[in-house]
């Protein structure tokens, strides 16, 4: 049994976007605040802080999760992915991000980090989704700018492109 006392900072070791990472957290510190303020990764956004808006969605051990409904001390030993891990290089966008840019799937961008993380984990498991499945997944996010249609379009386009990549079909490139 491990007991982490209130009011003290405790070591949290985890893997962030494929690299070992460590920080300190009081038991009450949310994963969202831990990532932003302790680790300095501010790509994960904080909206409602009760699990409704989806802006803070990250993946924990491959599954999408609300960082605001998770304690930093709970992810000790886990593998976390955040939006910072999507781009293959600092000057290049990932497939999903590029599809968002092409389709104007964001305006203010506040919700985008969470939506991208949900879609990224979803497309890994469901490489050929239909529109209904994408819309169902997006039900877990709120966007006040786009009306969702461009996001759905971007997701379907990205899925097609990822499928082409997986087949090794480079004629499009």
């Amino acid at each position: 049994m491990i007991r982490r006392e209130a009011g003290r900072r405790h070591a949290v070791n985890f893997v962030l976007n494929g690299r070992p990472c460590a920080g300190e957290a009081e038991p009450r510190l949310l994963l969202s605040d831990f990532l932003r303020h302790e680790i300095g990764m501010t790509g994960t956004h904080v909206g409602c802080e009760h699990g409704v808006c989806g802006a803070c969605t990250v993946t924990i051990d491959g599954a999408p999760a609300r960082a605001c409904l998770t304690l930093a001390v709970q992810v000790d030993g886990c593998e976390i992915h955040t939006v910072e891990g999507l781009a293959p290089a600092p000057d290049r966008l990932g497939v999903l991000q590029d599809a968002f840019r092409r389709n104007y799937a964001l305006q203010c961008g506040f919700c985008s980090a969470g939506i991208l993380m949900s879609l990224d984990s979803f497309l890994r498991i469901h490489p050929a989704p239909d529109e209904a499945a994408i819309r169902d997944l997006l039900g877990g996010h709120l966007c006040r700018c786009t009306g969702y249609a461009p996001i759905v379009r971007a997701a379907l386009e990205a899925a097609e492109e990822l499928a082409r990549e997986a087949r090794g079909d480079l004629t499009h490139a």
Partner: protein
Amino acid sequence: MKPAAFDYVRADHVAEALDVLAREGGDARVIAGGQSLMAMLNMRLARPRTLVDIMRLPELARIERRNGAVTVGAGVRQAALLAWPELGDALRLAALALPWTGHAQTRSRGTVCGSIAHADPSAELPLVLRALGGEVHLRSARARRRVAAKDFFAGMMATTRAEDELIEAVSFPAGIGRCAFREVARRHGDFAIVACAAVKTGPGVRLTVGGVADIPVARDFPPLDGSARDDALNAFAYDLDARDDVHATARYRRELVRRIGRELMQEVLQ
């Protein structure tokens, strides 16, 4: 919107979790997936002194089908039950209702038992447990007991669990195939304005309604049709004591109970 301070305990054995609950009782809260409790902590509607994490206990992470029942341990996430290959055959009503339980992004963390422990009147899993006549398996350092769903839910977010008891598992009768589920919410995955489950019982139907009264309410109906059925549903809708709130009026909720009730009755009696 940040939790008040608490000690965080990660139990390595069920006995350790029970020990903390025995010593600290009402000052301690069990956290599993945290998808209901974390929101309560963030809003400071819950201010426990100690949080006991039970998610690293492999003995609680099992789904078992045995002796005509499906037992779901306290560590089983909603996504894990939804992905269980036997779900459609063993627990059809849960297979119908789980896609309505939160969103993919919360089902990935939230547990089946946690939703039942939270006892939100509009949540789907308490409704399923009540509709099927399931049981809650409670365990403390003193004793173990099982409580029928109809005796477990005591009011809005209130249950008959004692402060030193852990919900170790819930169990559902297996193999009930003649059932149906429907829900109306503002957004798919949000809490239900009205959720309704129908289960075939002998010649008749049991309707169970969530989102209207403080707890899921079940009523058994004989096989009826026409105006006799509509009158019986109307009486049921009024007996639920619907209230107005920001999401819907009492009148709208009663109308949903009548309409969804009629559709589900027809579907299950066909």
